[in-house]
Symmetry: D2
Subunit: 276 residues, 4 copies
């Protein structure tokens, strides 16, 4: 059991009536319990909590009149990941996958797995199937990209990244997801909080569906898989943007943190964890 | 109440063990009842019916050994659309949309609504909101594209179509969806059967969420909205491909039909219908 | 005759042996004389002047060892444009165009006129041919784009700009060029110095070939066509980058200016000029 | 000296007055002499021969009224390539390249060498420079692409091909050109006739500038470099389309051939040749 204190503060200059869709609250899953949670705003506005889908994604909706809006979220997450001996974990067969998993085989906005399928098959198609093959894909992504803030934009896709070879965490995740789907492994995007992330920010990582479960990977190697607190999952970053605005507001401050509980020491470095 | 007989026959040359995911069966919705349905194969193989998601999408999974496989589907659909006086239908406000609808505001594989948002806003942002604005978008798509079989491929997106100005039904739908999302109207792809479609095939059309309901549109004007039998809905065509294969099989024949019941006469031409 | 004093200062931190290809010197054409020209560096390095092609483009090549390199260029340009009554200027027929002009009908890196041809034809194909049609294209570009520094990158193309509707001078020029080529009018990119440009920088504009001559246009409307001093022409910005580096050097300062000669007053606003 | 008989027959259904720009005639270079040349049409129309540029590219312009037009070209080419011991050929330094060669370092319509530069540098940047490095690039292209007629279109670029891994001769050439430019080797597209090409057609190959000369490569390995008769060179296929039409005409027949002279036997397989 790992205890992690998480939180974020967002300050917006709201210039006209604006609807905020926030995806910053940690999700509840069999492997992740959320306690001592608070979400407050200054000035006080009504916060509507929404359950988006079957994956446990949460959403908070705010309708805000012009003001300087401060949003503060904090919680304690208790993680109980299943630790596995990953080399024994095989891929699931398409004939046995649960139907709700099949959607994560489809291409999506930032993960054109259809376009990258031949590349994926050529590079990784002949490797033994299973956890180690997904790990090989994540290693390949780590080794072939250069982590370069500012090198990509909100419209950059996995195909762009594969060519230009630079990006940030969301780009790493998009490319790894696309390559997994390209060889027939369902894969999805995870947004969350990460212990010790430098510089501190929301983080993007990915999950692959293997042997009946979702397994967590961070192709950037910027955080331990044991220190990742999930906010939500989706096909790609389009589904889990931390804030979607309708109206007019400018982000002025963003502060994100994730710290191990007091009685915790260091995290093992990236064991295989099944978390969903 | 409209009664429509639908069906399709697919013949595949299956060259190695192949998993088929079929999305060819009509969905059951409050506005669409399915009767006298059969799905058979020759040779006989096990057919696993799956319920994919909360939208009522169905999926049939088959695991097939090498053979010449004939798949036959037929059913009778009874449609009971709500007919509306559309000019009174307003758009929903983002502050009131049900959470499960919000996902249809996001960009997707073939509908890069983020990229097209400025274009959409410039062309349609100043029009009065509501049903007529969505109809104006569909009219614009109809008038600016040329229906040209073979002019697009499986990777063609709405942005491509907006530039090249040619496409087929899925391209028309993708562009209309992207433009709707671009101005803040949730919109989604619908696959289905269409009465009197020439040449006969599965059809692709779209729905926009207005005033608390989904409304159906066919930007190609190739079919009446009263004669559309839905198979499934999704963000775009990536979600509702009629057949997804894992293995090796070649489509050799495809025959699709949709006919009005015996006691039916002609369909009114494209009234506004709410169907979901 | 218009006299314009131009110049630019560039400072680079050269970190390893680097080859500089500079395109910052004004070109000599029948309509543009260059006097009192100097190009100097500190520290002094050998400057190799090159004549690139038949268009009069010039290039200066420097091989520089690690240092802090200051490059200073200045000159006086005397412009003698042919002023025309543009409404009488017709387009050239493809049957009569000089062969060397035909290359400016081809698509190029940033001007995918092949992709945009249907759009161009649909929007502008039915207008009366001639100078006014090209002016209509430039007006359309001006009216539909928003001048937004930072909204585009070195890889942004005319198709990107047509969708996203933002850009800077090079993007405006690329889009106008592509639309002209799309309707069969040869068009090319011009880099240069512009009087009164705010903020001061090198400028990008375009020329269209009409009735046997090249005519100058600035779709950004940021400068008068009478105050544009040409550096070079090319198919698009790929051909006339002000500096191409092989090695490693960082641009630390860039200062560009273009001022009317002492005895000059104001420039008429954008008359039609033929300059090549 | 290799003697090759070449020719092509094109039949068009010309539906309205159409201007043809033909690039089907063999070029004259120091290494390629053209004899016994004829270009005829039925019905007879005026043929205007044009010299396009300094590279020796030729162009024939025809203005044709509605008819069924048959174009017949034939000639005998005498090739005198310089055979080299390629392993000794080094790359040219940017500091010494002739100015007119520098343009072939720029990205172009189908060769986005700017986008592919990091990929090129990562894959090939550390190899010893020279002829063998260019050969390695061509080998890589040959090994990683699958020659698949119909898999690409007129708008497919090198970046597309790098991802999708299929294409035809022009796609192979575009990718090899882009990768060469990406590591700083000037490279250009060559169109021509190829002995023993199957199926017979015009062919597309490429040249790289090494040690002061252009060297010929065929990344498809479909033809011997000794049996390639050049029509023209350009930045990419956009510059050397065999026919560009303004008007309306449909290609009904195309027949292309290239045969060794009577006294010739077999061609050595792909020696290094310098031809320009």
């Amino acid at each position: 059991m790992t205890q992690i204190h998480i939180g974020s503060t967002l300050v917006y200059d709201v210039r006209q009536r604006t609807i905020f869709l926030l995806k910053i609250a940690a999700g509840s899953t069999p492997h992740q319990q959320v306690n001592d949670e608070s979400l407050t705003t200054d000035p006080i506005v009504n916060i509507e909590p929404c359950q988006v889908d079957l994956e446990g994604n949460r959403l908070h909706r705010l309708v805000v009149e012009p003001c300087r809006l401060k949003i503060q979220y904090q919680a304690t997450a208790n993680l109980a990941p299943d630790l596995e001996r990953p080399r024994n974990v095989d891929e699931s067969q398409a004939a046995q996958m649960p139907p709700e998993v099949l959607t994560y085989m489809n291409p999506s906005r930032y993960c054109e797995s259809d376009v990258l399928a031949r590349f994926a098959y050529e590079e990784f198609g002949q490797l033994p199937s299973g956890f180690t093959r997904v790990q090989t894909i994540c290693d390949w992504v780590y080794e072939h990209l250069e982590y370069t803030p500012g090198s990509t934009t909100a419209t950059t896709t996995a195909a762009d990244v594969l060519l230009q070879r630079t990006g940030v965490c969301r780009d790493y995740a998009h490319l790894a997801i696309s390559l997994c789907r390209g060889i027939g492994v369902p894969s999805r995007y995870v947004s969350g909080y990460a212990v010790n992330l430098q510089p501190p920010d929301y983080h993007g990582f990915m999950e692959a569906f293997l042997d009946g479960q979702w397994y967590l990977f961070d192709p950037t190697r910027l955080a331990s898989t044991l220190g990742l607190v999930r906010i939500g999952v989706g096909r790609d970053a389009a589904d889990v943007a931390f804030c979607t605005l309708t109206g007019s507001a400018m982000l002025e401050e963003k502060c994100v943190w994730a710290n191990l509980g007091d009685d915790q020491t260091n995290l093992a470095n990236n064991p295989a964890v099944s978390t969903a």
